[in-house]
């Protein structure tokens, strides 16, 4: 546990040092602020969805920026040799790094709470619905971070890792649009795989455990794949 904590702390510290994370934060807040303002001015009404509607799309771009460094940089610097010759297992390394990226998600969401606060100045806000939506976005973003870590375990180049994670995430997005184009059984099948689809209920203010479970499985699947991909390097 102490090792995971130590790895986690190190990653958070490196976030503060890396210019990429500042670019990611700036991008997220600027675009979110812009979209919120224009939408709010457009409809002139207090609606909760103004706050979270665009978030999932923003995470599509922010996730690669936040996660691409995590394992690639260790592989490039040769510091993986330090980690994996220490009495630490691969799972602990992946867990520490993953928790750091999830903390960044929490930070982004926490700062985004200014928008509902702005809304309260113009009318009353349904905090219950908002909490459900924020929980949903948090779960979605956490799932996306797991994809990012997996992509980062594949290459010693941050660039390649970033592009890979963007491609995988985009593929999940496209599953959603594909399911929109279908009907009946195939539509339902594709929807089940789409991380966006599982967000819908949260945005309506409904917390359904089956959706929560979906995100958990998603996270464990991709973290498991990351562990496998790192283990494989030893046997190459």
């Amino acid at each position: 546990m102490r090792k995971i904590w130590s790895l986690f702390r190190k990653e958070l510290q490196l976030y503060l040092f890396s210019p990429t994370s500042y670019v990611a934060f700036a991008f997220f807040f600027l675009v979110l602020g812009y979209l919120f303002s224009t939408a709010f001015l457009g409809i002139q009404r207090v609606e909760e969805r103004l706050v979270y509607n665009s978030m999932s799309l923003l995470f599509l771009f922010v996730t690669p920026m936040i996660t691409m460094r995590l394992l690639s940089e260790e592989l490039r610097q040769g510091t993986d040799e330090l980690l994996f010759t220490s009495p630490v297992n691969v799972l602990q390394v992946v867990a520490g790094k993953y928790l750091a990226s999830v903390t960044v998600v929490l930070f982004l969401l926490a700062v985004s709470l200014v928008y509902p606060l702005i809304l309260t100045m113009y009318g009353s806000v349904d905090w219950g619905k908002l909490s459900a939506a924020f929980l949903g976005v948090f779960l979605l973003a956490s799932a996306m971070m797991a994809v990012g870590i997996f992509a980062s375990s594949l290459s010693a180049s941050q660039m390649v890792a970033g592009i890979t994670s963007f491609a995988i995430l985009l593929a999940f997005w496209l599953i959603q649009t594909l399911s929109d184009a279908l009907y009946g059984g195939s539509r339902e099948l594709f929807q089940k795989f789409s991380p966006i689809f599982h967000l819908n209920d949260f945005e309506q203010g409904i917390v359904d455990m089956s959706h929560v479970l979906y995100y958990f499985v998603f996270v464990f699947l991709f973290l498991g794949l990351s562990v496998q991909s790192l283990e494989k390097r030893r046997w190459r």
Binding site: G78, T79, L83, P87, V88
Partner: protein, 317 residues
């Protein structure tokens, strides 16, 4: 202390190592020698558990690396070829991080840190960013990292590569000191280094262990007749003829240098013959005084070349 048995690592389409076998006793400093690409780093990575072997086993203190990896890894301190540092961390932050990874109890960490900073000579720089350190200091931080958890076995992969002469001397001194307490296996392709620090040499070539002995014994064993360097006053041609006529002389070659009146020669003798006296009298008789005569021992460098080029002849790239 360390036992490597029948260790092989095969890569598809690339040479790894094949059936490497040796053991190292507690307190030994062993040099691991070989040309670039011979398999030194691969062997070390297998010993430290960074890579898994295709075949064979590594035991540290009798424990199998593949079975008790966490326990075994705790006993090893490892400095890879390029020190595994995070440039954005401070020296202290980095060493604390490593201490956590290696399970050094929190209350002991402060003392340990002070101790390794002192031993590696980086006290006073603990608050600097690693990025800002010179190459020599980075190497020291790398060493500090390797000894932080008081490992029994130290594996150092080319610890002096890329340093300036002064730093090299300092690092060597440090390794020698460390050798008093720890068992050390260090790889290098610089031969004098091995002669200076190590009591035993392993030579690896093209993935196979070709020699395992003490440095001075190695050179003696491979000494097939020694060579004399001569400077003789007189005509080159005549001198060569006289020397060649002495029985037991294998070859006479002319060396660069010498003045107008003298000639410098290299005389190779047959195995186990010492002809210095005969040469002296022969030259004296011919009124060609010897100005200089020196016996040339085979340096480890020559031994190394002999071993790694002897078999097979041409080397595949």
């Amino acid at each position: 202390m360390l036992e490597v048995r029948n260790l092989s690592k095969r890569y598809p389409g690339k040479r790894g190592i094949e059936a490497v076998q040796f053991s190292v006793d507690r307190g030994e400093i062993v040099g691991f020698l070989g040309p670039n690409g011979a398999g030194k780093t691969t062997t070390m990575r297998l010993i430290t558990g960074y890579l898994s072997p295709t075949e064979g086993e590594v035991r540290v203190d009798g424990q199998l690396m593949t079975e008790h990896s966490a326990k075994t890894k705790k006993k090893i301190g490892y400095l890879p070829e390029s020190p595994p540092l995070y440039p954005e961390m401070t020296v202290e932050g980095y060493l604390r991080f490593v201490a956590d990874l290696r399970e050094v109890p929190v209350r002991e960490q402060k003392g340990r840190l002070a101790e390794v900073l002192e031993r590696t000579g980086i006290t006073g720089r603990e608050h600097q960013l690693i990025r800002r350190l010179s190459k020599g200091y980075k190497q020291r931080v790398g060493l500090a990292q390797a000894i932080l958890h008081h490992p029994d076995l130290l594996i150092l992969d080319e610890p002096t590569s890329g340093l300036d002469p002064k730093q090299i001397t300092e690092i060597r001194e440090l390794i020698r000191e460390l050798g008093e307490k720890h068992t050390v296996l260090l790889s290098t392709h610089i031969l004098p280094e091995v002669e200076m620090i190590c009591k035993r040499v392993l030579i690896i070539d093209r993935g196979r262990l070709v020699e395992d002995d003490r440095p001075e014994r190695l050179s003696r064993r491979l000494e097939q007749g020694f060579t004399l360097a001569l400077e003789v006053k007189g005509k080159p041609k005549a001198a060569e003829e006289i020397l060649a006529s002495i029985s037991g002389v294998k070859e006479v070659t002319r060396r660069e240098g010498g003045s107008e009146e003298s000639v410098k020669l290299l005389v190779t003798l047959e195995e186990e013959s010492d002809l210095r006296e005969q040469i002296f009298y022969a030259m004296a008789e011919a009124k060609m005084p010897i100005l200089e005569m020196q016996r040339q021992d085979l340096s480890l460098e020559d031994v190394f070349l002999k071993l790694t080029t002897a078999e097979g002849g041409q080397r595949d790239a």
